[in-house]
């Protein structure tokens, strides 16, 4: 029974079976399972072995439960020889109630099946969504005392609303570090990719650049070796690298002698000085390799070079509010000293948790709210079923009461029955949740962070159990409270009508109103999200994504030290790719729409007044190759595209977008105007505008296009031109080209990996995947809610019809027409429905403002959505009433009266 790494028995299922097995046999059964699991593993592999184990547990559930029940009840069945204490009497009573409940359930399997199915779906869906909420939002971050960790950003009032996140200039970073009294320390980092060579196939790895205090802030220790020393962050220090535990495990097979050996990143050699503890990561980015962040004197030249991300740890006891106040004061102070660069700029302090999950939090909470509503409606339906049954069993219960059963006794029995069913439903629901969570994650948006933290853990299990118990009690108490008290005699009278007089009918109708109202709210939410998704898809992104393949290449600095060598590579690549069959055009760009955030630079416009102090603006600059606009499908509005003549030796040229024209040359022809960017401290040459292109929604479909400048890649600088994305527009299936493109790249340079292979269609779809996820799930929940509510309406009406068959028969016999009968039935169903719709619409109007952050292009009180869905639900309810209405209309008065 040795344990092999990575092939351990499934933990959840092992836990489940050990919970259920009789304690005297538990260890032996677990050992048996493990023994056979090992056999399955060697015979059929880990997947089959896990399935086998799961099957064993599932098929063991019922025998285990039955066996344990029979053991519990055993003492009650054999003769007692010694007096027993009160608590044991209660225990026996409980067991007896429970057995009676089981008997009741068995006598009406159809009823039990509907109840368990409804609760299974409700509890299963709720638990599955909760497991995602739990993993993503509730589980604390992995870092010790993560509550004290914050990310610091700069804000810019000119181009962005306050609260946005701009990178931090090294000079500000140094000053913040110096001046603050609220942080233990602050450290800078940057996360990116690097090419790893020399260890078999070239590979892209995720790399974190960090200053020396960073790992200490995270409280991450090396498993062995060491972290970084303060001196290793300066230019000219030795190249050193620290590996993540998983990377060391995968690429070095956990070789402990790895310290001191070297690896090659982007063509440079690095010495391995340490391996971090298992599980150290940051912002769930999967960082494999850590290197020191290098800063030199030129980085501190002015506060306009904003390149850093900054992490800080608040001192113990310091609150977020204190930190924000302190940092605002520091920003004020720096602004006074350096108005040129800092006017309008401030600091944004964001807790690490919000940085990681803040963007998905509203969507997940709305999702969780929606699934809770479904559960509530399901519970109401089940309660309604029990109410009906309690009515049917009135005489039965009255007899029991007449024979001396107390009210408490009857309530307990009713509760026992509901709890048995709800715990049964909850147990199956939990199994459903285990499967459902995987399904949920399979189509979760790609930007959902911390997916690996989603699992059925103890908290999820407790949640499932509590939900089951609460649901059971809610279902059970209502009908129990309605048990006959005063009307004992009525109930016992032969032939007494179980007329829906008074309380019970009112209660049932009230429940239906609640159900309809809740499902109305959910339908409106789903409708608003669907409209949002439509609006997003209706946006013209400014480029045409059909049949375009994109891949990324990155040129290491050693082999490609300057733009000239890069241009040689790019020219050869483009020539070869354009010669491929089916390729219509090919081009390169640094920043792909909806994928890469562009870099922005401050600049000045020739002939326009020197910017007011502090108002020096920065704009996005995109290096692209020839043919980029045609390949991406961006319309040229004015002037010309770049040509091969626009090379490094020619006059520097630019193409701007419409937004840029509107800001700087609203009533002028921009062609021939000149701009100078501050690419480094020395500034750059004047660049002439030769064309204007249409706006592209670069950052997100629902964000306005920002003013943007394009320049030929051959006239850019090395730090920005060294990793470009290749775009290939084809007349065939784009992904089929990937192999050919990879071969071309490898032919030109065998050490270059080709990575991030996607089509533009995938990128566009990915950019709205969160909205699609919300829309589909909430739409599904809303549909389920509406269905359950309609079942509720149907239940109430058909019960009313059955209850009043005699009355209806009498009416027909006395000459009431079919129309009147149908109207009576419809009124029975539609009155609570319309009341529910009214309450639901009001509720939606009051609460849908909470959705604002999830909506786009549609107001939370969108009249069209409301006007379409409210009548739709009413009509559906009418259809639900039509079956009982038909039954009522075709009542045979003679047959009915004969029953009398």
């Amino acid at each position: 029974m040795s344990r092999r790494c990575g092939s351990r028995v499934p933990r959840f299922w092992r836990w489940l079976i050990s919970l259920l097995m009789n304690p005297t046999d538990r260890d032996y059964a677990l050992a048996d399972l493990e023994e056979d699991y090992e056999r399955q593993l060697t015979r059929a592999g880990p997947g089959a072995a896990r399935r086998w184990y799961r099957g064993q547990v599932v098929r063991s559930l019922w025998p285990c439960v039955r066996s344990r029940l029979s053991h519990i009840t055993a003492p009650g069945l054999v003769g007692r020889t010694k007096p027993i204490g009160r608590h044991r009497v209660i225990a026996f009573d409980f067991v007896r109630d429970f057995r009676l409940a089981l008997r009741g359930i068995r006598s009406r399997p159809g009823f039990a099946a509907i109840v368990v199915l409804t609760l299974t779906l409700g509890i299963g869906a709720t638990t599955a969504v909760f497991s995602v909420v739990n993993g993503v939002l509730l589980n604390p971050l992995h870092h010790p005392d993560a509550d004290q960790l914050v990310i610091l950003w700069e804000t810019d009032q000119h181009t962005n609303p306050p609260g946005t996140r701009n990178n931090v200039s090294p000079a500000n970073f140094a000053d913040w570090r110096e001046l603050n009294r609220v942080f233990e320390d602050i450290a800078a980092y940057s996360i990116g990719q690097a090419t790893l060579t020399g260890l078999g196939n070239p590979e892209m790895v995720t790399r974190g650049w960090i200053t020396s205090g960073f790992l200490w802030l995270l409280r991450a220790r090396p498993a062995f070796g060491r972290g970084f020393l303060p001196g290793e962050g300066s230019n000219g220090a030795d190249n050193v690298v620290v590996l993540s535990y998983d990377f060391w495990n995968r690429r070095y097979a956990s070789d402990p002698d790895v310290i001191g050996s070297t690896l090659t990143l982007n063509g440079d050699s690095y010495t391995i000085v340490g391996v971090l503890e298992r599980g150290v990561d940051f912002l769930a980015r999967g960082i494999q390799i850590w290197t020191p962040y290098r800063m030199g004197p030129s980085d501190f030249a002015n506060r306009g070079t904003r390149s850093l991300n900054v992490l800080a740890r608040m001192k113990p006891g310091v609150t977020l509010q204190q930190t924000r106040t302190e940092m605002a004061a520091i920003a004020d102070r720096i602004r006074l000293e350096d108005p040129e660069w800092m006017t309008g700029r401030g600091v944004n302090v964001v807790p690490l948790r919000d940085e990681l999950v803040g963007r998905v939090e509203p969507a997940l909470l709305v999702l969780f709210g929606a699934v809770l509503v479904v559960l509530l409606i399901a519970t109401v339906n089940v309660a309604n079923l029990f109410l009906v049954r309690a009515t049917e069993r009135r005489r039965d219960l009255a007899v029991q009461q007449a024979l001396g059963a107390g009210r408490g006794r009857l309530i307990r029995r009713s509760l026992a029955e509901c709890l048995t069913l709800s715990v049964g439903g909850g147990t199956i629901g939990l199994l459903l949740a285990a499967v459902g969570t995987d399904a949920l994650l399979a189509f979760a948006p790609s930007n959902l962070p911390r997916i690996d933290a989603v699992a059925i853990d103890a908290r999820v299990l407790v949640f499932g159990l509590v939900v089951s118990l609460v649901t059971g009690c809610a279902c059970g108490v209502l009908p129990a409270l309605q048990n006959p008290g005063g009307q004992l005699n009525d109930a016992l009278k032969e032939g007494a009508r179980t007329a829906t007089k008074g309380g019970r009918g009112q209660l049932r109708r009230g429940l239906v109103v609640a159900q309809v109202a809740l499902s109305m709210i959910l339908l409106i939410v789903a409708g608003l999200l669907t409209r949002t998704f439509w609006q997003l898809n209706a946006i013209n992104p400014g480029f045409s994504p059909e049949r375009v393949l994109t891949v990324k290449v990155r040129l290491p600095a050693r082999e490609y030290p300057d733009v000239a060598s890069m241009t040689t590579f790019y020219d050869e690549l483009l020539r070869a790719v354009r010669a491929l069959p089916q390729v219509n055009s090919a081009a390169l760009t640094r920043f792909l729409p909806l994928s890469d955030g562009p870099w922005t630079y401050t600049f000045e416009v020739e002939g326009q007044p020197t910017p007011v102090l502090g108002q020096k603006q920065s704009r996005a600059y995109h290096p692209v190759s020839t043919d980029y606009f045609r390949t991406a499908g961006i319309t040229l509005l004015q002037g010309r595209d770049f040509t091969t003549a626009d090379n490094a030796d020619a006059v520097p040229v630019l193409v701007i977008n419409g937004a840029m024209k509107r800001v700087y040359w609203p009533n002028q022809d921009p062609i021939g105007q000149r701009i100078r960017f501050d690419f480094d401290a020395s500034g750059g040459p004047w660049r002439e505008i030769v064309g204007v292109v249409a706006d592209v929604h670069h950052d997100a479909l629902h964000w306005d296009p920002r003013p943007t400048v394009y320049g030929p890649e051959s006239q850019a600088f090395a730090a920005i031109a060294n990793r470009l994305r290749l775009l290939v527009r084809t007349s065939g299936e784009p992904l089929q080209l990937a192999q050919s493109v990879r071969r071309i790249v490898q032919r030109i340079d065998p050490d270059l990996p080709v990575f991030d292979i996607r089509t533009m269609d995938q990128i566009v779809a990915g950019s709205v995947s969160q909205q699609r996820f919300s829309m589909l799930l909430i739409g599904g929940f809303a549909a389920a809610a509406a269905l359950l509510a309609l079942l509720g309406v149907y239940g109430v009406v058909s019960y009313a019809v059955r209850d009043r068959t005699q009355e209806l028969g009498l009416r027909v016999a006395l000459g009431a027409g079919t129309g009147r009968t149908v109207r009576f039935v419809l009124r029975e169903g539609l009155t609570p429905t319309l009341a529910g719709i009214a309450v639901g619409v009001t509720g939606a109007l009051l609460t849908s403002r909470l959705l604002d952050s999830l909506l786009f292009g549609v107001s939370s009180t969108d009249p069209l959505t409301y006007a379409m869905l409210a009548p739709a639900l009413a009509v559906a309810a009418g259809v639900a009433c039509s079956v009982p209405a038909y039954k009522a209309a075709t009542v045979d008065p003679i047959a009915v009266l004969r029953l009398e």
Binding site: M1, S2, R3, I17, L20, M21, N22, T24, D25, D27, Y28, A29, A31, D32, L33, E35, D36, G55, Q56, V57, R59, S60, L61, W62, P63, C64, R66, S67, S70, H71
Partner: protein, 112 residues
């Protein structure tokens, strides 16, 4: 005891114990039934039945020393009691008597 009939699965379990003689512990019993009947047997059902047979006094068990490998656990070795042997031969005999002179169509695969 011999007057009572054994349920089908109880019969299988007792026959497997009889087959396995000294080696009748949980996993071995489970595999023996699966191999002979071709029917999947869950541990839960097996231990529930073993416990019931124990209550009826038809089987008992001894607990072994832990297995001499890493992580080895103790096993429960089951054997038939005298009453169990009697019940088993009674049941099989009754079965044989009932079958006597009967020609059945061959079972259609799953053995149930």
């Amino acid at each position: 005891m011999a007057g009572k009939f054994l349920a089908e699965f109880e019969l299988y379990v007792m026959l497997a114990i009889a087959h396995l003689a000294e080696q009748a512990y949980g996993a071995a019993i489970r595999r023996a039934i699966e191999e002979r009947t071709g029917r999947p047997v869950s541990v839960g059902a097996l231990y529930a039945t073993l416990s019931r047979l124990g209550d009826k006094g038809l089987v008992n068990f001894t607990v072994s020393e832990p297995q001499p490998i890493r992580g080895g656990r103790a096993r429960k070795y089951y054997r038939l009691t005298r009453g169990g042997q009697a019940a088993l031969s009674h049941s099989t005999e009754m079965l044989a008597r009932m079958m006597d002179g009967l020609r059945l169509a061959p079972a259609s695969g799953d053995g149930s």
